[in-house]
């Protein structure tokens, strides 16, 4: 199906189902219950899961396949965002031209940066991309303020021209929309104590995410993807085999830059503001974290990593001492206080600390990320059920 083999088709369908039903799946706890704060099924976070998933999938096409570690991909996301907002300011609040221009501008910018940076490899390549991204950020923050609106971030105004649309509706800026369907439009479904929100913007992201994911599968399974893995494996042999590795890496760089641009475009389609911080090297570092956490070089890993970090950032960071005290209220007072005292540095505003520790643990013990974790668990499970049949199972592991 879909011209994919059985394994990939299964994966695609699982992801598709997960994305369609995410508003259900991520809201497992009834409204008003103690655990409701762990619900992640609200539009903004759901959109972010998908948008950063797209970003990480694209980054993985470069890093996971070719092994080139870019520390500057956030710049492409930022350029895409700025292009998107400008389309909304100048042309129309319809998100289609904005998203298209985001991809185009990010692609052009990544072509320029990639063309120069890919003249070097290894850490030199990383430093070059880092330098470009930091320059973009510094300039966007200051000298380019007329284009980027500096620190505040580029946003819409009531007096924007919007030549194909309207500048304002009753004193308000019109919402971003897809041919008239506002991105913030939501349906709420109430079932017993549960409330599920289905948001138009989320499903637009979902469509783009599934297309992006499908395309990534095709790339991974194509001769082109094989060449990219060859770059990572042995670039020298590749060259002596008559393959020019530079255009391959450049193509991968531009494709991943366009993914980043798509992510940037979707971000402003959901929330029409583009801040310069999204270009900073720490933002590039974040997508690296996502890809590694999930599992670089695997299809689904980056999406899982993106979801993991965004969940942490948005849900885990909200836990505070009061909530802890509620949780441990059943304990004797002294013990409760002691426990809260011990946990306190790691929760709420200390979430960076927890994230840093978890990241280190994953790099140390699970270099293949979450995906490898699942694989190991599955192995343990298999061994547990069919311990005696080990020799029959001696088929070598697949390459991926």
């Amino acid at each position: 199906m879909l011209a994919l083999d059985k394994k990939d088709t299964t994966l695609f369908l699982i992801v598709l189902a997960a994305v369609i039903f995410a508003p259900f799946l991520l809201n497992p706890f009834p409204e008003g219950s103690e655990l409701a704060q762990f619900n992640a099924g609200y539009p903004d976070l759901l959109q972010r899961f998908l948008i950063f998933g797209i970003f990480a999938i694209g980054f993985n096409i470069l890093f996971g396949l070719t092994g080139y570690l870019s520390f500057g991909h956030a710049a492409f996301l930022g350029v895409g965002s700025y292009a998107g907002v400008w389309m909304m300011k100048l042309l129309t609040m319809n998100v289609v031209p904005a998203i298209l221009m985001s991809i185009v501008f990010a692609g052009l910018f990544s072509l320029l940066v990639g063309y120069i940076s890919l003249r070097r490899s290894g850490i030199y390549f990383s430093i070059l991309t880092l330098a470009f991204a930091q320059m973009s950020f510094a300039l966007a923050y200051s000298v380019l303020t007329p284009i980027t609106n500096g620190e505040t971030g580029l946003q819409l105004a009531l007096d924007d021209p919007r030549v194909l649309g309207v500048s304002q509706v009753n004193g308000s800026i019109p919402p971003t929309n897809l041919f008239g369907l506002p991105m913030r439009e939501s349906f709420e479904l109430t079932m017993g104590g549960w409330v599920f929100t289905f948001n138009a913007g989320y499903y637009l992201c979902a469509v783009f995410m599934m297309v992006a994911f499908y395309l990534a599968i095709r790339i991974f399974r194509s001769p082109f993807g094989m060449m990219l893995r060859a770059v990572k494996s042995n670039q020298q042999r590749m060259n002596y085999t008559g393959l020019n590795s530079r255009p391959y890496t450049l193509a991968a760089f531009v494709i991943s830059g366009m993914y980043a641009g798509l992510a940037g475009g979707l971000m402003v389609a959901m929330d029409p503001l583009a801040g310069a911080e999204r270009m900073q090297w720490t933002a590039s570092g974040e997508v690296v974290l996502m890809t590694i956490l999930g599992g670089a070089g695997t299809l689904i890993g980056p999406v899982l990593g993106a979801g993991f970090i965004k969940y942490f950032e948005n849900i885990f960071s909200k836990i505070n001492d009061n909530i802890l005290h509620q949780w441990f209220a059943f304990l004797p007072d002294g013990l409760e206080d002691a426990l809260v005292f011990v946990i306190h540095p790691f929760i709420g505003k200390g979430w960076h600390l927890t994230l840093g520790i978890m990241f280190m643990l994953i790099v140390i013990f699970l270099p293949g990320g979450i995906v490898e974790g699942f694989r190991r668990l599955a192995q343990i499970g298999r061994r547990g059920t069919g311990g005696g049949k080990k020799s029959a199972d001696a088929v070598p592991a697949p390459a991926e």
């Binding site: 409204e31 200051s142 946003q155």
Partner: protein
């Protein structure tokens, strides 16, 4: 009953859903059809969103803002000693929450980044059902979140934001600022500077290279030039700078005799420290003592700069040594709860929470449009004759009589000119109030060129 996170905005929806014998019939609503405004509180509680920097360079100010919010919620819900509720000129607040609903709150981390702040605010609106968002410690964040609240249909009560643009070109109908701004700093500082340093001065500006820096430089420059000063040079410094020596030394070579540091936070601490290290204050130029000025002071920043602030002039929104009843009451209840006096950020956020609650009470509704109307009021400041002198007048929250001006949602109140104290009696006693500049002196018209562009638009109830 859960404490903080009992979310009731959807109770109406739940009650209309047919629930029987454990089986629920799905009922589908569009958000626009369900309520007359977004996140209408329908249960016994109302949720406010406190969006402050908990990580990043302004985390300490964010923590102080959060303390003030918690104190305000305590007071509004009838706990504690009531703080400034006792001195507030409006007596609509009853100590039973807002409109009889107990106040609950959610907190978020702005990270002092526009993106993160918007994400955090969106989650408060979408997930937690917050009816009002407040907080922040930088203008970029304030402008970004204010725009979001306008689009979403939520009231935004700004925290610490000093740029002219917040109530200038980026003003929004759903947003309100209690903090003073760059223009007011310039207008209050200039006469004091002229009185102390003379009218024949040559100023050199170092300006943080972002929005707030620009408006502050412009405000201070125009005010001081109006009194006869000359601006020799203005130089923009990167926001990420930690060492300003490369910018300080050219000052030595110019014939300037005053250095204005349009810096805030870590920038201010470092640039001031550098300037003092390079001996600027020991210098004589044009037969005058070389002077340094910091237009926007914060006590928390003054602490960071240590000894270097001594004798340096600046302005501040509020200071805990003020002797009016409101300030005294606030310092007392804050100090007793936390053990140290509140910062200006804490005072602003505390007052903003009270003002919001009061507006809801007076309007009799949480509807953002009703709240906007109540905050736009129908009174005027005594002593200022201007057609734009119209808004909501209140007193007893520090800084004397204060007007929330209807035209741009900017507060007008007395501005404090302060200087670093030579002999502090405690680690909190770092600034001394030089002059309380009366509000009439910092008044400006909404069409002042420094605030040109942008439009308030109309209130958005989000539904």
């Amino acid at each position: 009953m859960s404490g903080l996170k009992n979310i009731n905005r959807r109770t109406l929806l739940k009650s209309t859903a047919a629930v029987g014998a454990g089986l629920a019939m799905p009922t589908i609503f569009t958000s626009s059809a369900s309520a007359s405004y977004l996140n209408e509180p329908t249960g016994s509680t109302v949720t406010l969103g406190f969006n402050v920097p908990q990580t990043g360079p302004y985390a300490d100010e964010g923590a102080d803002e959060l303390r003030a919010y918690e104190l305000a919620v305590e007071h509004l819900n009838g706990g504690g000693d009531g703080g400034m509720m006792n001195t507030f000129s409006s007596k609509a607040l009853k100590g039973n929450g807002i409109l009889g609903k107990k106040i609950e709150y959610v907190t978020g981390d702005t990270q002092t980044k526009s993106d993160a702040a918007r994400a955090s605010a969106k989650s408060m609106i979408e997930k937690d059902g917050a009816i009002m968002i407040t907080g922040g410690s930088s203008s970029g964040v304030a402008v970004a979140v204010q725009a979001l609240c306008q689009e979403a249909g939520i009231i935004f009560m700004a925290g610490l934001t000093h740029s002219n643009d917040t109530t200038g070109k980026d003003k929004k109908a759903n947003g309100f600022r209690h903090f003073f701004n760059s223009y007011m700093s310039g207008a209050a500082l200039a006469p004091v500077l002229a009185a102390n340093y003379g009218k024949d001065r040559k100023a050199y500006h170092l300006t943080a290279d972002y929005n707030w820096g620009y408006t502050t430089e412009q405000a201070v420059r125009e005010s001081t030039e109006g009194l006869g000063w000359e601006t020799v040079e203005t130089v923009k410094t990167p926001l990420a700078s930690t060492d300003f020596s490369a910018y300080i030394t050219p000052v030595l070579q110019s014939d300037a005799d005053v250095l204005v540091l349009n810096h805030y936070g870590g920038n201010m601490v470092n640039s001031l420290t550098n300037a003092v290290q390079f001996g600027l204050r020991d210098k004589q130029v044009n037969g005058k003592n070389f002077e340094i000025i910091v237009p926007l002071y914060s006590r928390l920043m003054a602490k960071g700069a240590g000894e270097n602030v001594k004798g340096i002039y600046g302005s501040t929104n509020w200071h805990w040594t003020l002797q009016d009843d409101g300030s005294k009451a606030f310092v007392k209840s804050f100090g007793e709860k936390y053990g140290f006096p509140p910062s200006q950020a804490a005072q602003t956020t505390y007052v903003q929470t009270l003002l919001y609650a009061d507006a809801c009470e007076r309007a009799g509704s949480f509807n953002p449009c009703a709240v906007v109307e109540a905050l736009e009021g129908d009174s005027s400041l005594p002593g200022v004759s201007s057609p734009s002198n119209k808004g909501y007048l209140f007193d007893g929250l520090g800084n004397g009589p204060t007007l929330y001006r209807a035209a741009d949602h900017q507060c007008f109140k007395d501005v404090l000119v302060v200087k670093g104290k030579e002999n502090p009696s405690s680690e909190f006693d770092l600034l001394e109030i030089v002059e309380i500049t009366p509000v009439a002196q910092v008044w400006y018209e909404p069409d002042n060129p420094q605030f040109a562009g942008g439009a308030l638009g109309t209130c958005n109830p989000g539904a």
